[in-house]
């Protein structure tokens, strides 16, 4: 089921590794995170962050297994395969959903089959809702957790115009909503922080809350990103930096401890 990821020119690593390390570096020490289905990049990112700069980071595997430290990442990120070493197996309706509603967990990452400039996501249908071209799985907890969790991260291993669209066919989960103060006006905390793709890293422009290019992966140009993106990509005032290089130590820990079997490649 696993694919292969391209090498990152000059960085001595592949694109999956660059994405995991970039995600990891965005995690502060006070991160309290959990993960849903098919979330290999974030899962590896949390695990790497805890082994490097964020030792206090909380990660609840599958939203259940607090402080889990499994030997390997398996074929599903929503299963007991990830629960080894946990200090608590939380109950879903009472523990997890209470902690989520109370923002005791402060970090969640999601990806959608479609994502728009405001970090909203669609995982429900491609095409008209009532007669869809593709019936996708459904948003699961996206519509819930997007509303409840203050620090939202997005990622995609398929940065192309089918994924990054100007208008979602359905909004399964909210990011910054309609932009500006829309999200805050609904009483929701925080909002999307970054979107990490196989081409670049976006942050969100402070006023409009639209995706803005924060860094380009080596070998990728602004034009490449714009061509792969169905909405107009905002640029920072200064020159766009290159995504920072993973350290030898980060790559070593990722390859030998965090994900020795390369489960993260299931996203490629």
């Amino acid at each position: 089921m696993s694919g292969a990821a391209a090498a990152v020119p000059g960085y001595g690593c592949t694109i999956d590794e660059l994405m995991v390390v970039t995600f990891s570096r965005a995690m502060a020490n006070d991160t309290r995170a959990f993960n849903g289905a098919v979330s290999f990049i974030p899962v590896c990112g949390y695990r790497l962050a805890r082994r490097t700069h964020a030792p206090e980071l909380v990660w609840a595997a599958s939203s259940i297994a607090v402080d889990a430290d499994p030997a390997v990442v398996g074929s599903s990120t929503l299963s007991d395969e990830l629960w080894g070493g946990a200090s608590m197996l939380a109950n879903s309706p009472f523990d997890f959903w209470t902690y989520a509603q109370g923002a005791r967990y402060n970090t969640f990452a999601f990806r959608g089959a479609q994502m728009d400039a405001y970090g909203n996501v669609n995982n429900s249908v491609i095409g008209p809702y009532d007669s869809p071209k593709v019936r996708l799985p459904g948003g699961g907890g996206m519509a819930d957790l997007g509303c409840m969790i203050p620090r939202i991260y997005l990622w995609s291993s398929t940065h192309d115009p089918r994924t990054f669209v100007d208008r979602l066919h359905f909004r399964s989960g909210i990011g910054w909503g309609d932009g500006g103060d829309h999200r805050a006006s609904l009483g929701m905390p925080g909002g999307p922080q970054l979107c990490i793709t196989n081409l670049c890293v976006f942050d969100f422009e402070q006023e409009s809350k639209r995706m803005r290019l924060a860094s380009l992966h080596p070998g990728v140009s602004v034009d490449d990103v714009q061509a792969a993106t169905g909405f107009e990509v905002l640029l920072p005032g200064d020159e766009v930096p290159t995504t920072a290089q993973p350290s030898t130590e980060e790559l070593h820990i990722l390859r030998t401890e965090v994900d020795p079997t390369g489960a993260r490649l299931r996203e490629f």
């Binding site: 071209k133 909503g177 609904l186 299931r266």
Partner: protein, 281 residues
């Protein structure tokens, strides 16, 4: 379980679905079922494949990293089966409103998304504004469930039931909401097993209407901590979807055809029990 019933299935995604019971629904050729499954996969796909389900009420249906649930996908795309889509928490809140006999359960889940509008016409969800604070919320109305079916590790003949090592997924929400509950159990045990460790009981006997023994009854989904999901089954299942004839053959041979549950297991040759996660049990 009459045709046309609303049946809620336990488990979550690749985990702990009551597959042995679902297979019996397939074999009994049930029709027009409304299937409630908060986050589901194979259990829904079997019922859709066999033509048992006319409506799916869910937050998510997929095979996760293995792919989309193929029969669910095609039947909902063609309109043959209706998808009543919620988010996970909106569905939990509807079940909780039912269980607690409340006019609605409030939540912020779903605000700012397109999900609540799907249920405006039916009135199942309403966006309202709190009188005192002006804050918006979604009022989730009760969702009536005829029968809940959940899989557990151990049950006694009175109906006391236990999930090992702990009730983790959202099965309690469907049990609490349902008119009747059917439990399938890896093992039938004496009541003494419950009185010896009463803090580990998941459902008391008065919440359970029937108990059926079903060893490895969640296969091919997992039953933590005793066995994991069988990825090979998921791959074979998806691999058979190339043509309707191939799939019909596969479904008959590997799912609906075997007479007993033991025959079914033999046809699928699962790995020995004990290959699942071995965490904290």
């Amino acid at each position: 379980m009459p045709d046309g019933a609303t049946v809620a299935l336990g488990g979550l995604s690749m985990n702990s679905a009551p597959m042995a019971f679902v297979r019996e629904l397939v074999r009994a050729n049930k029709r027009d079922l409304t299937v409630v499954a908060i986050v589901a996969g194979m259990c829904v796909d079997w019922l859709v494949a066999a033509g048992c389900a006319s409506r799916v009420v869910a937050g998510l249906v997929s095979f996760e990293g293995f792919g989309l649930a193929p029969n669910f996908r095609h039947a909902t795309q063609s309109g043959k089966v209706a998808m009543e889509e919620y988010s996970e928490h909106l569905l939990i809140c509807r079940l909780q409103a039912q269980a607690r006999q409340l006019p609605f359960m409030p939540t912020v889940a779903g605000l700012g998304t397109d999900v609540p509008a799907l249920h405006e016409a039916s009135g199942a969800l309403r966006i309202e504004t709190d009188a005192a604070t002006g804050r918006p919320y979604v009022a989730c109305t009760p969702l009536a469930v005829d029968v809940a079916v959940v899989h557990v590790h151990e049950a006694d003949v009175a109906g006391n039931a236990r999930v090992n090592p702990k009730l983790i997924w959202m099965d309690s929400e469907i049990v609490n909401a349902a008119e009747r509950t059917i439990v399938t159990a890896e093992r039938i045990v004496d009541t003494g097993s419950f009185t010896a460790e009463p803090h580990r009981t998941s459902y008391p006997r008065f919440m359970v209407d029937a108990v059926c023994e079903a060893p490895r009854g969640a296969y091919p989904t997992s039953c933590f901590p005793e066995y994991g999901h069988d990825g090979r089954f998921f791959e074979d299942y998806l691999g058979a979807c190339g043509s309707p004839a191939d799939f019909a053959n596969f479904f008959e041979r590997r799912v609906a055809g075997p007479t007993t549950w033991g025959d079914f297991l033999a046809a699928n040759d699962p790995q020995p029990v004990g290959d699942g996660g071995e965490v904290g049990s």
